[in-house]
Amino acid sequence: MADETTKQARFRHVSHKRRTKEDRRFITGQGRFVADIALPGTLHVALVTSPYPCARIDAIHTDAARALDGVVSVITGDELVEATNPLLSGLDLPNIKRRPMAAGVARYAGEWVCAVVAISRHIAEDAAELVEVDYEPQPFVVDPEQAIEASAPLVHPDHGSNILYQRKFTWGDVDGDFARADHQLSFRARWGRNSTVPIETFGVIARWNPGVETLEVWASIQMPKYAEQIARALGLPANCIRVHYDVDVGGSYGVKRGIKHTVLVGYLARKLGAPVRLIEDRLENMTGGDAHGPDRIFDVSIAFDNDGTLKSLRIRALDNVGCYPGRAPLQLGKPIGAIVGPYRIQSVEYEPISVCTNITSQEAVRGFGQGPTNFAIETAVDRVARHLDMDRVEIRRLNFIAKDEFPYTIPSGTAYDSGDYHTVTEKTLALADYPALVARRDQLRAEGLLAGIGFSACLEPSGGNAGFEPLFNPKNPTTTWMESCQIKIDLMGNLTGIIATQSAGQGHETLVATVIGEELERDPDDIRVVRADSLASLPSNSPVGSRMAIMLGGAASGAAKMIKQRLMEIAAHNLQLPADRLVYDGGDVAVRDDPATRIGWDEMVEIAHRRYHDMPVDTEPGLQASYVWEVPGGGGMPDADGRVQMYPCFSFEAHIPLVVIDPVTGKIEILSYYIGHDCGTMINPDIVHGMVNGGIAHGIGAALYEKFEYNADGQLLTGTFMDYLLPSIHEVPRIETVDHCTPSPLTPMGQKGSGEGGYLGAPAALASAVNDALAPRGLEITTLPMRLGDIAKLLHEQT
């Protein structure tokens, strides 16, 4: 309660309960999602996809499809090779060209081979069935460990290897620390290929407007520099692309990056002179949507002393990126910025290896690689505790960075801004009534069940920045992911914030209104926030990397402060007093020593908009401000050893679940779930708690149910919602939360990010709980997801 009181005293709007600005349209069915946009004369795309993991395309017979009534066009990959440029890659791989559709060779089952355009989606699907493709199956590889063997078939022969990226980073005296440590242990952990799988698939509509030579785009998108990527691929200037940001996105959490979809549809719209839309159906989304997540094998060694002090860490991370690299290999780079987790570990060796295979391509997923890495680190800490017969919480207390050590620079060069891991942990233990929880577990065990308590600590790097881009690709010197906000006050005195991004549920309108309202002491409910289009707005890097509370909040705060400054100048001029004798008061400006003497908001608005004669000399008429904010601490290039400041702010969570396992069926039930959460200042507590709860639910999926499973023939076995299993309301327990606030010194209100932590911590916590349950039997599982069959197999093999 003390925290709550402090916050209430410090802020008048921030951190207070407030209904969001977005929800009203969603509860009335008035959200505007991409599939809701109906443009006259729209044409629909359906796709013909490869059934083979690798096949030469000898011929594509499209006559029957073209002859079908209602079909407008049928195009193949070869046509796009002629007409478009390759899609952007996150790595410098000149010999791997990614295009919207296969040309010459299809490299995974589900890859687009041919696109059919018709007057309805039904007819497009009818026609797609009539396309016949002559394939010549080729050797292929599915398993990433086989893929790196010399004899493996090459996914991209021109590249000469299936390894897309490999580098061994060494930060500190790893060999020495391992040699000096009392103990070391090694293990392998696997993170199964899952993803965010939003309930809305990806969709895009494009229309070429010949009168103004502009390609208009409406999409369910969350992609940095989207307009520029479209422009580059289509060979157009970026100021010919107008992306409408006022489209609601039905969930993304990273993956809504449909650049190949957009280039295809944009090309077709221009060619056909009609609006063209491609709304993925669920089957397209799961197989050829290129939206899978990390797929990792970790080989971890950890060195430690008798007393439990962690000394050094070696991590080799082999990631199966699938067929095309895109930005996905960079998901091995981002975790470098938190490679020791919340622990005081003095040296690290990290060897990321990105491998391509003949399966669907990866895309960015919530946490951008941090979730798997956190699972590996936390599993290591649990193993050390078990090895030393220490309490799992105690070993963490011993190794946590202490609150007075911040800013704390980890071996890989990133400084953590602030935190109080010990206090959050203690608060979480208190919330869970830990001794009672242990008693409950032991009671369940006495009843013959397998019961276990998990613990995981989790850092959420936030305020996303570009550090991994120059680190993994020296030809890409990006060191800023700026964010922007504009504010204008109209003649009526109403405030409007203008942002340059789409939202997928993060509540950006509420965020910006709350921050502006806080700075300018105006009611956020009266502030409108609009999402401009890409031509009308300032630069943005989109809501990736848990960054918008920080970056968009920071930009809004900066713009609001500029407005406030201008109001003070107007007031000083009209009251004929120096600004330091004035005080801003709820939109008015008053004389500090004589508060009754003041100039009101409405009058200052009128002065700015009409009475230029009352404005300070040589000032801009009107009341408006634009602010573009650089990521705090950004702008640095990596050093020769790969040390870099990755993200600026670090939220922290402690997760404590209690699980019970049916000893025969292997079915895991989560009985309780407690979390302590510290994301600094919460702008809107309901939004933060929703994201944390949702992140945990998502993490439950990754831990227990969700996997894009391929068989040895390279076929996806879990391509529908009947096989790829998202947690339902029955699988997500009630989550008990305790908040803590360690403000970030780097942000205007002390805020940090909160969109990812639940997902980053829950899989590790559940693995910890399951292993605690299995420990009395001497069993262990380090592969996610931990499906009931996997658990039962372990149990059965023992008996």
């Binding site: 209904r19 969001t20 977005e22 929800d23 009203r24 349209r25 969603f26 509860i27 009335t28 069915g29 008035q30 959200g31 999602f33 599939a35 809701d36 109906a38 039904h122 965010t196 799988v197 939003p198 309930i199 809305e200 698939t201 609601d248 996105v249 039905g250 969930g251 993304s252 959490y253 159906d281 669920r282 997928a504 549920g505 993060q506 509540g507 309901d686 939004i687 708690h689 929703g690 994201m691 709860n693 949702g694 992140g695 945990i696 639910a697 998502h698 529908t720 919602f721 009947m722 998202l726 339902s728 309301i729 029955h730 997500v732 009630r734 989550i735 639940g758």
Partner: protein
């Protein structure tokens, strides 16, 4: 193929349409009637985003052909608020509890929960979970949704009591 004439009542308003038999009810509502509040998430009956109320019972509109709705009454999310814009207690509770993030599953949740509260004005948490067990939400982890349904039941009970 032959078009079929159908007559359906949606949110109290009668509609007559000529449609292809293969048009699903969700596509009919969205593409023919322009009622885009009902969402298609999986189109194979798992996610529940397309839930509408058919003759009083919540059903998946992706698992029906629109021709099968001939002569029936359908309620969609667009019909929950009063004509003057007053929100239903459930809608208001969803807003109050922030029982959503992206809003894509929300219409299906609202329709399933509306039907629940009609048949069971004072549901237990288990009743709520049972009624919403076929509606996937990827954003919220469901907790705030359960709280919203509970809140709506409480407020309605107080208003009636």
């Amino acid at each position: 193929m032959k078009q079929r004439a159908i007559r359906v009542t949606v949110n109290g308003k009668a509609h007559e349409s000529e449609i292809a038999p293969r048009l699903t009810l969700v596509d009919y509502l969205r593409d023919v009637l322009g009622l885009t509040g009902t969402h298609a998430g999986c189109e194979h009956g798992v996610c529940g985003a397309c839930t509408v109320i058919l003759d009083g019972a919540p059903v998946r509109s992706c698992l029906m052909f629109a021709v099968q709705a001939d002569g029936h009454a359908i309620a969609t999310v667009e019909g929950l608020a009063k004509d003057d814009g007053t929100l239903s207690p459930l809608q208001d509770a969803f807003w109050e509890a922030h029982a959503m993030q992206c809003g894509f599953c929300t219409p299906g949740m609202l329709m399933a929960a509306t039907a629940l509260l009609k048949s069971n004005p004072d549901p237990s948490d288990d009743d709520i979970m049972d009624a919403l067990g076929g509606n996937l939400c990827r954003c919220t982890g469901y907790q705030q949704i359960i709280e919203a349904v509970r809140l709506a039941a409480l407020r309605t009970g107080e208003a009636d009591g």
